[in-house]
Symmetry: C2
């Protein structure tokens, strides 16, 4: 199988397969409740966060791993909107990953008439952010096209206007170099089951920069964020640290898999990982220009490597049928409505020859028109 | 080991150990992204909910399994408070599980001056609920004492006053008969890692009665609750069903373990499970009266079986040191601050002889004063 869906669900790390069985059998089955301390379950959300931190240019103590990306977005956004004074707009972009926009819609309704949701075009986003902006929520790399925002520049613009901005790093962390601390990023969330190989539905992470942790006030105030959790105090008191972004008990089996996904990056520089991503992506674009353009494929991703995440998307009027024909030929790539064929580039485990072979397969499908047979299939749910 | 902590973390079901390894190796490693459909991952939150439903007296389509108990409490409570008109009090009880109260504190702050949090004494809770009550949140079985509320009667009182009530079933589901539909319960949440044996930090469940699902409006509006999730529509539209209580991608490895935990109840009647729980608890109380009362143990749980969940708690001035001495003797029971020694009774896998043996061990510790050596240890984090 040629797997171009590692940006949807990353591959299984070899070490995870054996270790999860051990966690189940020995830590749960044998250690039972005592594994909360003996196997460090109790600190796992923080340990996973500390392990993710260097991959996104953050420091230990700025990241925890828990809940889903959607819930983490809600947690950050509800706190920032509650603390907002007088400002009126909540800004995001058209074409953002849907859950990000949905979460904002829910919040704007929750706060009644207080905020207006502005869904700007991606290219005009900076113009929509000004002194009346209460919150900005953007995804670094677009899930359909792979287009990457200039995260540093937009953050600088937001910071200059005193506007809190939350970055969703789901489609960039683990494949694109990130320097959150250096870029002045204060709030971010991201997914661990894509480029970070954390496993299906693995807990997401949440980042709050050190200098704003003290003033960050959680709204979803669960017991895992309490300063004295097992004192079972009557009143809520948040802890001082990044654990104030936790809520309830984290799912340990899934969280352990995340540790293995992140461990795949041990000893690697993210700049080297990104260089390989660019080389693979450039090869795919070059080969497509050469062999697929005359079959009505157009490159939907930016052609400049620094404007792109770790994926190459093409538009084709029959993208769905083509994706199915590709699958039948052993090439797994994603269809994204309405006309996108998306190739995730996973530099940790993808080879140059995989790109050649995939283009060979695709060129063959187009030449032989074997995709036509898949035209009648109904698009199904794929994450 | 004599394990009286199954009400904190349930034991490992035999089938889970082998199956989770297979899920990791074959479904994640082999099937990759296609397992979302091929291995039914996509429907697992609902499947787990449907499996939990008969254990709590609910119907298929009224329960989903996702997120933590704390997050689920927040999700229900924020929706109910937003829809509330003019009513002013949010009622819970002193001694409720801390996260339940913390979540309400966060919400009352979020809504500004609109609501007052009333923390009533458990025995006067009904008197605190009237036509000015916007929301009631109660835990069926108290985590410290095991005292059970008359869930049916309190629900009837709330319904008569048009007051929405959320029940937290974490300490009752899987050990105590529940008939949510028959009792007119509209909203509930609960934990799967205690009596339901779902594994450490396993996703919690959320119940909304069929007749109120249509009018229930989610506030934490993630993509898993969208009517057309993979249409990637620009605007949020909740689905019609119980899936409107989902938010983000659920943690599949942990969720699969939940399926095995629930499967332990296949072919059992909850009334039979409860009968065994009562028999074991009565034996423990009788033996304690006989052999431990003169060592300053007092029964902290109600003595009437129908007023009690599936645990027996004792008060003792040296409860912490005694719990440590018990542990050294191979008996795992929980200390709960400040003076509670808690024996969880798990009818699925506990035998009468275990009760005898535990009391033997405890009587020996008290007679020989071996607990004194544990006096200096510091209480540690136990969930």
């Amino acid at each position: 199988m040629l797997y171009f869906n590692g940006n949807s669900l990353g591959a299984l790390p070899k070490t995870a397969a054996t270790d999860i069985g051990r966690v189940v059998q020995e830590e749960w089955g044998g250690g039972l409740v005592e594994s909360w301390l003996d196997a460090d379950w109790f600190f796992l959300a923080r340990k996973a966060g500390d392990a993710i931190a260097p991959l996104i240019g953050a420091s230990a103590g700025e990241v925890v791993c828990a809940d889903s990306t959607s819930v983490n977005l809600f947690k950050l956004a509800v706190s920032l909107l509650r603390q907002s004074k007088d400002r009126r707009t909540v800004v995001t972009e058209r074409g953002n990953f849907p859950t990000d926009v949905y979460i904002l819609e829910g919040l704007v309704q929750l706060f009644g008439e207080r905020f207006d949701l502005v869904v700007a075009e991606p290219e005009t986003i900076v113009g929509a952010i000004d002194g009346d902006t209460a919150l900005v929520l953007l995804t670094h790399v677009n899930f359909r096209t792979g287009a990457a925002h200039d995260l540093a520049a937009i953050t600088a613009h937001c910071n200059a206007h005193g506007v809190p901005v939350i970055w969703d790093l789901s489609h960039s962390a683990g494949a694109v170099p990130l320097a959150l601390n250096d870029w002045g990023v204060e709030y971010a969330v991201g997914c661990t089951y894509k480029f970070l190989n954390g496993g299906p539905g693995a807990p997401a992470y949440i980042y709050v920069a050190q200098h704003v942790i003290a003033t960050h006030e959680p709204v979803v105030t669960g017991w895992f964020s309490h300063a004295n959790q097992f004192g079972f105090e009557d009143r809520y008191r948040p802890t001082d640290g990044i654990e104030k972004c936790l809520v309830g008990t984290p799912p340990i089996l899934s969280l352990r898999a995340v540790m293995h996904g992140i461990a795949c990056f041990d000893g690697l520089e993210m700049s080297d990982v990104a260089q390989k991503s660019w080389a693979l992506s450039e090869l795919l674009i070059d080969l497509a220009d050469d062999r697929l353009a005359h079959h009505r494929f157009t490159v939907a991703s930016p052609r400049e490597p620094e404007e792109r995440g770790s994926q190459v998307s093409f538009r084709h009027p029959e993208a769905y049928a083509v994706s199915k024909a590709l699958r039948a030929a052993g090439v797994v790539a994603d269809f994204r409505s309405p006309d996108i064929l998306r190739f995730g580039i996973t530099p940790l485990y993808m080879r140059h020859v995989d790109i050649w072979d995939a283009v060979d397969a695709l060129a063959g499908i187009m030449a032989g028109e074997s995709w036509v047979a898949h035209r009648t299939e109904t698009p199904d749910a794929v994450t």
